[in-house]
Each structure stands twice: as C-alpha cells, then as structure tokens.
Amino acid sequence: MNQIDQKEVGMKVLVAVKRVIDYNVKVRVKADHSDVDLSNVKMALNPFCEIAVEEAVRLKEKGVATEIVVVSIGPKVCQEQLRTALALGADRAILVETEQEVQPLAAAKLLKAVVDEEKPNLVILGKQSIDGDNNQTGQMLAALTGYSQGTFASEVLIEEGKAKITREIDGGLQTLELNLPVIITTDLRLNEPRYASLPNIMKAKKKPLVSKSPKDFDVDISSRYELLSVIPPAKRQGGIKVASIEELVDKLRNNDKVIS
C-alpha cells in the first residue's frame, strides 16, 4: 500500500491515556490504611500511555495514520494529561469526565462507547497503569469491541491492511498478524517518548478538547470490587555484611542451608 492509498483510507488512531502518580514520586500509604495518599503529589501521564501516544505520533509521521484522537477518563484535571498528549502530537482530545472511581471493566465499557463513535482503525493503550497495575483495560476493550489484540507490544507494523505486532512474552518475543481494527497495548521497549517542545505546548492549548460524561454513553460505571484496605509492604530486615567470600559460603551452607 502506498502512502496516498493510506491517506484515502484515512487511518484513525485512538489513544487512551490515564493520569497517575508521577513515577518518580515515592508512594505513601495513608495513615488510616484506606488508600494511597495522593494529596499534594505530582501527577503525570502514565509512562505506558506516553509510549502509546508516541507510537501513534510516529505512525502519523510515517504517513500511516492520518488522525490521532486521545481520550482519557477521570476528573476535570485529566485535561492536563490530554494537553500533554496534544503537545506530543495528538490532534484532538476527549475527556470522559467523572469524579467516581473507574475500574478497568468500566473504563473498557466507556472506551468501547468512544470507539463506537470514533470508529478508529487502531486503538493504542498502555499495557497497565502504574497505580493499579491491573493490566486489563486494553484486553477488555478488545473483547467488548470484538477486535483482535496485540498486547505488550515491542514493535508495531501496519501493512497491507493488517497489523504485525511483536509482543514481549515470558521467555522471549512472539510475532502475530492481526486484523484491523486492532487494540494494541504498549510495553516499555516499544519506543522512547519525545519531550514536548515549548511551541508545541503552546499550540496544544488551541487544539480541540471536548468533555463528555459517562451518562452521555449510558454506561454503568459502578464498582465491582471494594477496596477494603491499603497497607505498606512488609519491610525486609537488612542483614549483615560479611567480610569475605569464605564467610558468605559458610553462612549459606551451614546457617541457611540453601547451598550444598
């Protein structure tokens, strides 16, 4: 397929992004163990979502994609992350605005509604968000739309109306050929995201951003699990310093009996 053909096809890419705690911030649990403490904590675009945006932008630069729509779900402040995605190269943004907690199944249902409206050829998401670590939303969206899925992608090729996705699996790499439309989730090594330039940050402020509500899509986002408590992980006690390899081997052999 040459580039003109692809432009006629008008490949649209939808990228879903999430606002999460900045990955450099040390996570603290609230004193009452009700949740992680996010007050006055720096928030950012989830790193895997950043990779998803970058991949979409690269596809557009290659002439494969013609339009990039970025979508997020959450409170009004998620506009910040959508503006970041717009500054990185997305064309327009949708915020499904809600103050309620949105669990992965509910997120997938909302995204399904957005997919029904936007009819993208390609949806790219991060493989997981670094807060809940659920690793579900992309696969669930694929199930609800009935689309193929290429999870944990480390390489994405779109050719001849198919997606060729290389996936990071336990023990190595796997390459699949997937029908379009396809849902892709990104792994860390798919690309290295760029930084937004100042002119692009300024330009992003003028790009369209529309707000919707879960009610617009008639989607039930009620919780399916209750968070009962959040505690810090058990602290591992530091041990001792040994003076020599001989001492180390002696301890492992005679104290801990983990070597023979």
Binding site: V27, A142, Q149, F152, D170, E226, V230, K241, I245
Partner: protein, 309 residues
C-alpha cells in the same frame, strides 16, 4: 463451589506456575478442575492429572489453540467458565493476555495478580509496583483471577489421579494468526521457577562478563537474571530482566551481583528467601535488604565464589 484453573504450558510440558495457581485455588477452597488448552498437548493433560488435589482435567486440543491466541482461548474459557464460581490463571504473559478478555465477556471485573487469599471473595494484591498492598473484595458472581506465583507455595506435582476429559469445542475467530516466536534457548531453569537465581547489573560492565555468572549458575543449578540497567545498557536480552517491569522471582537464594538495588529491581526479587548482594559500593541500597552483603570487586569475588562451591 468449583474452580476452573487454566494450565500454563508450552504444548509439551506443564509449567511450574500452574502448581502455584492450584495452590491459590486450594486456598479459596472448592472442587478444582484444570483446563489444558493447546495443540498436541495430551502429555500436558496427563501431567496435569497427576497434580495433587485435582478432581478433573479438561483437554481442548486443536490447531486453533496451538499458540493460545487470546481471541480464541478467551471464547473457549468464557463458554466453559459460566459453570464455575472461579476462573484462575497464572499472572504470566499468557494469563495476562487472555484473562481480561474472558472477564469482559462475562461482564466481570477481574482481580489481577493476587498474592494472598483472605476470604473466598477477598484477596490481597500488590499495587503501585508493590509499594502498597491492597485488600479487595470482589462483588462479582463469577470471580476471574490471575495469580502471582510467588505468593503461593506450589502444590505437589504428583500424587493425584484425575480423569482427563476431552473437549471438542473449537473457537477460531480468524482475527489473529501466529507468525513467529523467538524464545531464549537455555538448559538452565526458568527464572520464575528456579531455586537459585544469580543476577548481574550495570556493574557487570558488558555482556561478555556475564559468563562469570554462568560458571556459578552451573554449579548451583541457578537461573541467570539481570537488572533493568543491564538490559537497557544492552548487556543481555530483555527476557532476563528481574524487576517491576520484568520477571517477579522469589527463589530460595538470590545473588545480586553489581546491582545497586533500584526500587524497580527490588520489586521483582524482595520476596526471595535469602538475598546475597555483592557490590563494591558499600552505600548501594541493595545492602539495606540483603541478608548477606559483601563489599567487594565482583570480578574477584565471583570467581572465588565459584571456586568454593
């Protein structure tokens, strides 16, 4: 109450993670049925039938399942799963791939990566890369769960004598097809199943130097891992990575060589029984969690370690 456990395998042998997943099923309590999905995988079903505490093994053997493509497997598991109270799979890249698809098709909110069972509907799971542990109570009727292997001691691989029932349902969506696979060939145990793991970090300086770890690994029957820094520096391939974004391991003995101990790495190995750290920087954070720390030049210490084993 019955529990369907999806078996982790490569069509020729059952993977150890299955035993940990069965252990999680036992912790929940109920009649445990195993499901083997693949192609020419009869031997796996025979192996599964021997696992202690299993009442039945279901075998879906068809070319459509040869590579356990998510689209096909999810339809099968969804169809079967409606008759169960629980569907469990190991939180491996296989389980993580198809299970959320099953959950969505059943209109269930999956509980990912559980590390403990508190009650039949209540589970512990690490969040924020293991920097916090959440306790969650599922409100769904069918519970779709992936299991973190390191949270559960494996059940015995032998001792059972379950019957094997062959299924004839075939789900082929035609949405996806397998092209190729590049798997690291190794005679060593798998990282996540090994009794001993020896890992190298940026301090190894290059890929060639990992050979000194090979010799120790040979003597200990250990798997070899690496920190993300070593992977990012191109010393070794990504599938050797231990950490938050790599493999989660909890061997009896973990030897960290030339690894500073970034949070990212600790998240992948801090549940090991005995941790040894060898690093020339005595301020390295790895020493704060190591049972035995040795401040030394690894290029002298590791060959010496090998000679004493």
């Amino acid at each position: 109450m019955s529990i369907l456990v999806y078996c982790e395998h490569d069509n020729s042998s059952l993977k150890g993670a299955t035993l940990n997943t069965v252990a999680a099923a036992q912790a929940i309590g109920g009649d445990i049925v195993l499901l083997v999905v693949g192609h020419n995988c009869g031997a796996v079903a025979e192996e599964a039938a021997k696992i202690a505490g299993v009442s039945k093994v279901l075998l879906a053997d068809n070319v459509a399942y040869a590579h356990q493509l998510a689209e096909n497997v999810a339809l099968l598991v969804t169809e079967l799963g409606k008759q169960y109270a629980y569907i469990l799979a190991a939180a491996t890249t296989t389980g993580k791939n198809f299970m959320p698809r099953v959950a969505a098709l059943l209109d269930v909110q999956q509980i990912s990566d559980i590390s403990a069972v508190e009650a039949p509907d209540t589970f512990k799971r690490p969040i924020y890369a293991g920097n916090a542990i959440a306790t969650v109570k599922s409100l769904d009727k069918i519970k779709v769960i992936t299991v973190r292997s390191t949270g559960f001691d494996p059940v015995a691989a032998e001792g059972g004598s379950a019957s094997v029932e062959t299924l004839d349902q075939v789900h082929e969506t035609g949405l996806s097809s397998f092209v190729s696979e590049e798997l690291a060939e190794s005679d060593r145990p798998e990282l996540t199943a090994a009794r001993v793991v020896i890992s190298g970090g940026r301090g190894m300086q290059n890929g060639e130097n990992f050979k000194i770890l090979d010799k120790v690994a040979d003597k200990l029957g250990a798997a070899i891992g690496a920190s993300r820094a070593a992977v990012d520096a191109g010393f070794v391939p990504n599938d050797m990575q231990v950490g938050q974004t790599g493999k989660i391991v909890a061997p009896e003995l973990y030897i960290a060589v030339g690894i500073s101990g970034a949070i990212q790495h600790l998240a992948g190995m801090k549940d090991s029984k005995v941790i040894v750290a060898i690093n020339k920087d005595e301020e390295a954070p790895i020493f704060q969690i190591a049972d035995y720390g040795l401040v030394a030049d690894l290029f002298e210490a590791v060959p010496k370690l090998e000679s004493l084993l």
